[in-house]
């Protein structure tokens, strides 16, 4: 297990794109220490910011976190990264595989464009978790995003495929969603599913509902039972949502209208 121990408070945002177990495996500690990760005119290297201990393994632990650690695990394709603390924006951006865990909270745009692997945020996620960044075609794109605490506004904005699990979410959850599945064990904020085209949103409760979502009864669907089985294996609290009868809403009728939202009846 390789470790990067944060030396102290960060004087500027740092960009950890390319700091993955695979990228570090071929480097000596001295070589790794020279990698540029700063974003300001002064610049910082990996060695400036972290005490580095490398053993060539496929797991990396970042001891100590900061909301200024951007793009942690962004290029991860295999192995694991664990952050013991907080992470900044674009956690796991475009990640293709492996496991990425943050024990604290994450900044905006977590898991944006991630195509594979599992991203776990044990604390809260800021706005646009699983959402698309500026000018991107899609947000979450096949990976699994697990948020233990609260998610901010625009959870899963323009999400295309994959699954998001969260404790609660802010306003405009699943906005402009293209496809995929979002399960929120607690409450959603106002106006979930704005501009949603396809996809499934399941939540404990919701705020103000859009006038373009219509109730379509309480169907007993095979899909929800299959989803419940797969979630049981993960032993996540969201599995409890699927135990009883679910009321289904169809929308967003302003767009394609093939999306659906379920809440316990």
């Amino acid at each position: 297990m390789s470790t990067l121990r944060l030396r102290g408070d960060l004087p500027e945002r740092v960009d950890l794109l390319n700091i993955t177990p695979l990228a570090l495996s071929g480097l000596s500690e001295a070589e790794a220490g020279k990698l540029a990760i700063g974003t300001s005119r002064r610049g910082l290297t990996l060695g400036d910011v972290f005490e580095i201990r490398l053993d060539g393994s496929d797991s990396l632990v970042i001891e100590g976190g900061s909301s200024r650690l951007d793009r942690v695990g962004a290029a991860l394709s295999e192995g694991s990264i664990r952050v013991e603390g907080d992470a900044g924006q674009r956690l796991g951006e475009g990640m293709a595989g492996g496991a990425l865990t943050v024990t604290g909270s994450a900044g905006p745009y977590a898991a944006t464009g991630a195509t594979g692997g599992t991203i776990t945020i044990q604390g809260d996620a800021s706005d646009h978790a699983g959402g698309a960044v500026y000018a991107a075609k899609a947000g979450l794109d096949g990976a699994t995003l697990v948020i233990g605490g609260k998610a901010g506004d625009h959870l899963g904005d323009r999400m295309r495929r994959g699954m998001i699990l969260a404790g609660s979410a802010g306003a405009f959850a699943a906005s402009r969603m293209i496809a995929g599945t979002i399960l929120v064990s607690g409450a959603l904020g106002d106006h979930p599913g704005y501009g949603m085209r396809r996809g499934t949103l399941i939540a404990g409760s919701h705020g103000a509902l859009l006038p373009t979502f219509v109730e379509t009864g309480t169907p007993d669907l095979v899909f929800t039972r299959l989803l419940a089985q797969s979630l049981k294996r993960l032993s996540v609290p969201q599995a409890g949502l699927l135990g009883g009868t679910l009321r289904r809403y169809s929308g967003d009728l302003a767009t394609l209208g093939k999306g659906e939202m379920f809440v316990p009846a």
Binding site: P11, E12, R13, G38, T39, S40, R41, R42, G43, S67, R68, D70, Q89, P108, Y109, V133, Y134, A135, R158, F172, S175, R176, D190, H191, Y194, G195, A208, L210, P211, T212, D252, L253, A254, T255, G257
Partner: protein
């Protein structure tokens, strides 16, 4: 011409020198405001490149509400002159379009060109102030705001919802247009709403002609978008910290950078009037402001330099909302002092001194 350093009157050379020292000592400088003519914007982008600073126009919320939809799916827009000449149906969204003279001008004329020539012009509003001074058919907005209302309207336009609702009637009127235009302020409608509206306009264009007439922000944001595009290839919120223009609307939001304690020096450029930022005074700041403005005083910032106001004391290329282009604007009269300083000149002097001192990123 006036300049202040630490509240005390100073000559411009001393103020420039102090500004150079302030910026040279910074790790993460930001150039904010950018309410200025094109040559000053260009000088600001050059200074940012030399310094490794980031830029953020005060018009950011308006600019990005529009660019978000543009970058995602494109927008269909028209001009003020085309609207007045051709439109037989004009839908006015929200409150902001009613502030200027635009709606009065549209209401006073009838379509004279194109397929709707000779027809009457129907003026419709959604979520407007309903002041009654200009005759129009008013529709109320939903409780959720304009974006929610636009989604509801679009559902009726698509035929996904039906019934006797007011929005069903409004959708019918829009489809009956021969040349329709929606007038809106992007900041008021918001990015999600603008994208929904542009979707509605695409739907309407299946059977008729329909366009958007978007109001420009009053702080030269449209000029900054164009200048940033031709200078950096990106939208305005770019940073040069890593020797190349990086675009990141979240990271380079100057108010966020300053609130988070990331930025350690700021240059506020407002040779044209702009709302005073709440963060002035919270970090070392240089203010380049128009002469005669309320900010032209020693207590505005650590270093204050007044410059000619483009279109007033000095000439300058500015966004012309009526024509929808950048156009040169003559000075209205002689400057209060004999040789007026320009914002671009001051920024270029700061940059030259930084280069002379060997300070660059």
């Amino acid at each position: 011409m006036a300049a202040w350093v630490k509240g005390g009157a100073a000559d411009v050379d001393a103020a420039v020198e102090a500004a150079v020292d302030l910026l040279a000592a910074a790790r993460v400088p930001v150039l904010a405001g950018l309410s200025a003519d094109v040559s000053a914007l260009r000088a600001a982008y050059r200074l940012a490149e030399t310094l490794g600073a980031s830029l953020d126009p005060v018009s950011g919320p308006s600019v990005y509400a529009e660019l978000g939809a543009l970058s995602a799916g494109g927008v269909m827009t028209t001009t003020r002159a085309e609207t007045i000449g051709r439109a037989d149906v004009v839908l006015v969204l929200g409150n902001r379009p009613w502030d200027g003279d635009l709606i009065g001008e549209i209401a006073a004329a009838a379509p004279s060109r194109g397929r709707a020539a000779g027809a009457e012009r129907a003026l419709l509003s959604l979520g407007g102030p309903q002041n009654g001074a200009i005759r129009h058919v008013a529709y109320a907005a939903e409780a959720g705001g304009l974006a929610v209302s636009l989604g509801h309207l679009r559902a009726f336009a698509k035929g996904h919802l039906a019934g006797e609702a007011a929005y069903a009637d409004l959708a019918k009127r829009l489809f009956a247009a021969r040349y329709g235009v929606v007038v809106y302020d992007p900041e008021e409608v918001g990015e999600l709403g603008v994208e929904m509206l542009q979707g509605l306009i695409r739907d309407l264009n299946e059977t008729t002609r329909f366009f958007a007439l978007t109001l420009a922000d009053p702080f030269q944001g449209r000029a900054a978008v164009q200048l940033s595009a031709w200078t950096t290839g990106q939208a305005p919120r770019v940073g040069f910290g890593r020797h190349q223009p990086e675009h990141d609307p979240w990271r380079f939001d100057s108010a966020r950078q300053i609130a988070a304690g990331e930025a350690d020096a700021a240059l506020w450029l407002a040779s044209l009037p702009a709302p005073r930022p709440a963060w002035l005074g919270s970090l070392p700041t240089i203010a380049i402001v128009g002469e005669g403005s309320t900010e032209a005083a020693g207590e505005t910032a650590d270093i204050v330099i007044t410059v000619g106001v483009p279109g007033e004391g000095v000439g300058g290329a500015l966004w012309n909302e009526r024509r929808g282009v950048i156009a040169y604007t003559e000075p209205k009269g002689p400057s209060k002092t004999a040789e007026a300083l320009t914002a671009s000149g001051v920024l270029a002097r700061i940059r030259d001194r930084l280069i002379e001192k060997g300070v660059s990123c």
